[in-house]
Symmetry: C2
Subunit: 479 residues, 2 copies
Amino acid sequence: MYEMQFGVPMSGAVLNNINTRLDARTVSVLLHHSGSKLVLVDPASLQLPEDALRLLPPEHSAPRVVVADDPHEKELLPAPATALTYERLLEKGDPDFAWVRPANEWEPMILNYTSGTTSAPKGVLHCHRGIFLITLDSLVDWGMPARPTYLWTLPMFHVNGWSFPWGMAVVGGTNVCLRRVDAADVYAAISRHGVTHLCGAPVVLNMLANAPEAVRKTLPGNVEILTGGAPPPAAVLHRTEAIGFKVRHGYGLCETAGLATSCVWNAEWDKLPATERARFKARQGVRTPATAEVDVVDEKTGRSMPRDGSTVGEVVIRGGCVMLGYFNDEAATGAAIGDGWFYTGDVGVMHPDGYLEIRDRSKDVIISGGENISSVEVESVLYGHPAENEAAVVARPDEFWGETPCAFVSLKWGNGRGELTEAELVAWSRERMPRYMVPKTVVFRDELPKTSTGKIQKYVLRNIAKEMGPTSRGVSSKM
Amino acid sequence: MYEMQFGVPMSGAVLNNINTRLDARTVSVLLHHSGSKLVLVDPASLQLPEDALRLLPPEHSAPRVVVADDPHEKELLPAPATALTYERLLEKGDPDFAWVRPANEWEPMILNYTSGTTSAPKGVLHCHRGIFLITLDSLVDWGMPARPTYLWTLPMFHVNGWSFPWGMAVVGGTNVCLRRVDAADVYAAISRHGVTHLCGAPVVLNMLANAPEAVRKTLPGNVEILTGGAPPPAAVLHRTEAIGFKVRHGYGLCETAGLATSCVWNAEWDKLPATERARFKARQGVRTPATAEVDVVDEKTGRSMPRDGSTVGEVVIRGGCVMLGYFNDEAATGAAIGDGWFYTGDVGVMHPDGYLEIRDRSKDVIISGGENISSVEVESVLYGHPAENEAAVVARPDEFWGETPCAFVSLKWGNGRGELTEAELVAWSRERMPRYMVPKTVVFRDELPKTSTGKIQKYVLRNIAKEMGPTSRGVSSKM
């Protein structure tokens, strides 16, 4: 897969990394929408394209499937003898084949379907210029030294691994890949290979922070984690740093091909107490060097909101990393980047010091009695509870308030269901947040539904909350 | 001056940094050629523009002169009360003035007159896009961490300090400036401010390596030096690293706005003996990430030379950092970048591993009996002599051979003239290089003529060698 990030564009084709945990129906929709002609697949996922191809409409001539055998993985069956494998394909290749350079820097290079928190995927198209810019930008932003050892905890199919496939090639990095991202394998890989850098959503930090003592290993040196994809709860940041990881935090979207803002650290914050420091680090930060502008605006008028740290508006971005548009979807493209700015659909505030803080996805905001409640803010408080593993807050219909916050919660190792009650968590929350923000419903779950990149699928939870029916005034209901 | 690297382009003007050690006549030529409208000057150099303005042709309406007082420099007289100072100009400014953004990224941003080794300056024009690219590129290439402390040993008027004025702003660096670049001040600044990075031509390395014990200070930590501008002699690299500096080497020209190649280190070379290591580090290296291509070609046909480490050709460069062209000089622009490649005028070889090694400036090659002699190669051997401080080798006319190598040599502290004779140095050289490369003439000098950026002015030495008259066959002549 790493080689494909180079080989596919160099052959003149457009690269479309597909999430291996999608269902066959969705994969068939993506293959058809992109007009796919060739599918490269790992033997562990071979069933997925086979099922997906059968679901293609008859007019779509089936793409060729190439299986990339993995000689390092003993548990996998090798590809069938009749299959075209990646190695056999390479053997048939022409060693003198000249790299197909793009005719100009605006030619498309990669296509990524947005996945995860919404159920309507759109094909985000980026050009060579954009990928070149984001690659250098992310290296400079992270202060990447020469020859790092990079661990792939962030899947390459997620926004092309935030540009680091190309970035690692630029700085001569060593790529360490994992088949399974679990705490034991991650700690073992860090220790065995002397990993210096890795990326991951807050859920990865949470996994490392809550790992049982038995699988934790002493870090071999300075290990930097870049987190993003969701606002990291202060408690998770704090626990991860206590283990010795150095955590950076940035913000970007599929549409910006990687980080567009970065929470650049201010040395003065070192003097603050740990929880305060984590609160600052949870901010999305300032524009990266190659991002032209970031602002928080009124989504209707496009006017800048006051930089007061409290007036919410839509986050907008301008710069070389913004996508060409959504593939074959002019309406969606026009809606997102109509006036030269990319409207992210994220809701945030701008602090007086110019640091952006995301409050929520527009659709995740809970509107209760006319008050906007940031689900992220409520979750952030819930993460501070010592028994809590993960929390997600969504809107549940309410006959009186319109919506009320409904919390889905999983607890840590050793804390079985029943050790914490709904009433106890609600009481605990009342001491820590305004009354209107306190969840009216708490649902305990062993695990929360997630995308393969570790984002909690709020639309799934929102559907569950909707099916629970409206809460009555002041009365909570249990599942 | 640092503020000007930002303020001038942001006001919509083109920035032209002028070497303060030029003579008034040359400065007046540059001011006139560039159509200068405003001159900002340090009080220490006030006489220079005053004299230059008097030499302007009558049709050129004199540019306004603004004096930037230096409150930290007690030895300088303040600007006359009637003068417009930089601070007074700022006071008259409009705090709401909106940054004049370029209409497009190809608009000119900086103009630098090539100076130094030739006597015919040309105005190298770079656009915003090029400067943006070289700035990120040089940070990535050096693996620049956040918040470095950068010492300005390389003047900002020399190719805009190889892009580091802007680079330091990107990474939140601290800029340490010096009025005088001598060994004592440099060591003192490194120690006092905890300098982490600096740039300088090999002459700066030589100065630091040969500094008397009394002015040397223990380095406060890891101090990295980026050298370029001339091939660093192995012996100088070796001595500088022995003191504890970590030396990187790269290659670029005014026309590429900074480094276009970088001698990226191969860990296997660590196993080699010190002199071998220095020989590898003296190579100009491989293209930087944002440089598209570097090649060594036949200067007439443009065809690539074999990558054998011995076939010389002209070094050519293609990429985003190449200049727009020479200002108001279409003929020179066409000659330099006619076919999409920039012809550097440097002569080099490409090694089988893809590393470029510059052998000489075209005009510095000595042609003796039909053999091309690289002056740099001869100098490199001479620098290995323990008594030698600096060496420069140029062509001297010869009745039989056409040209022969003529060495200008200065000796180290404590080695007065006369302690090493011409015959001794020639004999020493014969043991270390092919006979045809051995200098037929050796001239001892207290100091070699240099440009303000530390480049030895070979054209001055070439003129001296020419005036010495031709050598007769086999007979050397003394000055």
